[in-house]
């Protein structure tokens, strides 16, 4: 659905040029919720804004639904943008217009018939559960309600793609959950492809199918959300996973303090049901010390982490780790 090839973006600043996006390649599938996560300043916003050319890419190509966005002239670009909805961290609602008028805005630009506008907007008001706020002004809404209006407005043109730039970053955790749920329903109901950027791992965990990790303008790791949690490759990915509330920070564990070896197990929902650890203890002559454990719920399954301190004979420990590897759990020696 979206192909990004060798995309780079340069800004000329007073202190010379900077490249907030460097040689990015991504392939995002139709109907997918694709997350791009990175720390502030990583270049995420610049990257997502290149997709509808709010920023002009300096190098590279962007193909959305078969159309080479990078080669379009102004007029064609404007028309293509109507196929690409966008939502923002600060909602960007028109402050002097009602909820209804805000959602109707993209259709007004099309000079669409009043009756059609009415029925389309009402349908979306229903979908985002704001029918009772139809005539309210944005200043009368909560943050979550404002983002719902913004989502409805982004959907009213029936776009194929929805770009979300930190759409939940200004919201409290509970509201974030409800907006993410809404985005998920949006994908199912409208068959959208969603590209979502965030600096919050909770967001990735809750709705992303696949994730790219961005650092200093580059994509350093791309994987399914599941694999990313199970087996993060880069240090940044690990840091993000550890940022989840229930996780302990591995760096704070000093292996010397606990037995001979400290290992980190990651297991999916299914293997969590089998008594792997107790079998290991029975089968091998080692001592096991549980240091920490947690479970994160992902889109379709859950993934657990367990940090164990093992002590005993080196050979026995090796055998125990071997055994774990065979049980479809991921083992990492810390």
């Amino acid at each position: 659905m979206i192909k990004i090839e060798n995309l780079s973006k340069k800004f000329e600043t007073n202190d010379g040029e900077i490249w907030p996006v460097k040689n990015v390649n991504l392939h995002i599938k139709k109907g997918e919720i694709f997350g791009i996560i990175g720390l502030s300043g990583a270049g995420k916003s610049t990257l997502i804004r290149c997709l509808n050319r709010l920023e002009e890419p300096t190098k590279g190509k962007i193909i959305i639904d078969g159309v080479d966005i990078t080669s379009l002239d102004k007029n064609d670009l404007r028309n293509s943008r109507k196929q690409i909805g966008m939502i923002f961290q600060h909602f960007n609602l028109l402050s002097q217009k009602t909820v209804f008028e805000n959602i109707a805005f993209p259709l007004e630009l099309e000079k669409m018939d009043k009756h059609i506008i009415n029925s389309k907007v009402n349908r979306l008001l229903n979908f985002v559960e704001l029918s009772d706020k139809k005539y309210a002004y944005p200043s009368e809404l909560s943050g979550g309600q404002k983002q719902r209006v913004a989502i409805a407005r982004a959907l009213v043109n029936n776009p194929k793609v929805l770009l979300s730039d930190e759409a939940t970053s200004a919201l409290d955790p509970k509201t974030t959950d409800s907006i993410l749920k809404l985005l998920n329903e949006t994908r199912d109901e409208f068959g959208l492809t969603i590209v979502l950027i965030t600096h919050q791992m909770e967001v990735v965990k809750d709705i992303c199918d696949r994730v790219a990790i961005m650092e200093n303008g580059e994509i350093i790791e791309t994987n399914t959300a599941l694999e990313l949690f199970r087996n993060p490759k880069t240090k940044t990915a690990k840091t993000f996973i550890n940022s989840l509330k229930s996780n302990i920070v591995e760096e704070e564990i000093n292996p010397k303090d606990f037995g001979d070896k400290v290992i980190r197990l990651s297991f999916l929902g299914d293997s969590a049901r089998k008594p792997i650890v107790s079998r290991m203890i029975k089968q091998f002559d080692i001592e096991v010390n549980i240091l920490s454990g947690n479970i994160n719920n992902l889109v379709n399954t859950s993934i657990g982490h367990l940090i164990l301190g093992l002590s005993g004979d080196d050979e026995e420990i090796e055998k125990a780790i071997d055994y774990l590897n065979k049980q479809n759990v991921n083992v990492e020696v810390i």
Binding site: N52, I84, N92, K97, S139
Partner: protein, 213 residues
């Protein structure tokens, strides 16, 4: 006294009304142009912006009275005379236009960049952004700006009176200052003050009333 004051008041209102309209007609588009052509604007034209910005600064730095005198020949071309209230409307409108341009510019600049970005992301054209986003979003601030313009023009019109423009300013100077009729001067000045206060009050009220923010 009323037979002197009332016609003069009507002259002032007439001058101020039409000068406000014409200065808006001239200045409003310039204010819009300033905002859209500046760096980062939706129709970025840095060279054009610099020239326009410069011209407006030069016009603004002219003392109003001198600008008026320089512009009177234009009145002859447009309305056929250089004396009287109708003739004064021409220089008054033109002299106020650069001020209006700045006032409109600063109001439109207050519009949240995010909203403009959003409009671009929806495929809005530049005229659509101007008329459906920039102006409606800035409306409360524009009303305050226009209020300020009217008050300024009342002040200008009083000065214009000194060079044969008619109105309350003219009355105050001719009868009050030169004719030693202090009472007429005082009443004229009081009416001008009440006019300014009243317009400011109405402008503030209206701006608050329509603001949904």
């Amino acid at each position: 006294m009323a037979e002197l004051i009332i016609p003069s008041l009507l002259e002032t209102l007439y001058m101020v009304f039409f000068s406000t309209i014409f200065s808006l007609v001239l200045g409003f588009p310039l204010g819009v142009l300033l905002v859209i052509t500046e760096k980062g604007g939706i129709w970025e034209k840095p060279a054009f912006y610099k020239i326009l910005d410069g011209i407006i600064n030069i016009l603004r730095s002219f003392p109003f009275l001198i600008l008026m005198i320089l512009l009177f020949p234009l009145s002859r071309i447009i309305v056929g005379k250089t004396i009287g209230t109708t003739a004064t409307i021409v220089p008054l409108s033109i002299a106020a236009a650069p001020f209006v341009a700045r006032v409109i510019e600063s109001s439109l600049k207050e519009v949240d960049k995010g909203v403009i970005e959003l409009s671009l992301s929806m495929g809005a054209t530049i005229p659509q952004i101007i008329f459906k986003v920039l102006i409606p979003e800035a409306m409360p601030s524009l009303i305050l700006g226009i209020t300020l313009t009217i008050i300024n023009i009342i002040g200008y019109s009083a000065m214009a009176g000194a060079i044969g423009g008619g109105g309350l300013g003219d009355l105050a100077i001719r009868f009050g200052l030169y004719g030693f009729k202090t009472d007429i001067m005082i009443v004229s000045v009081i009416i001008i003050i009440l006019l300014v206060q009243g317009i400011q009050f109405l402008g503030n009220k209206l701006a608050v009333m329509i603001n949904k923010k």
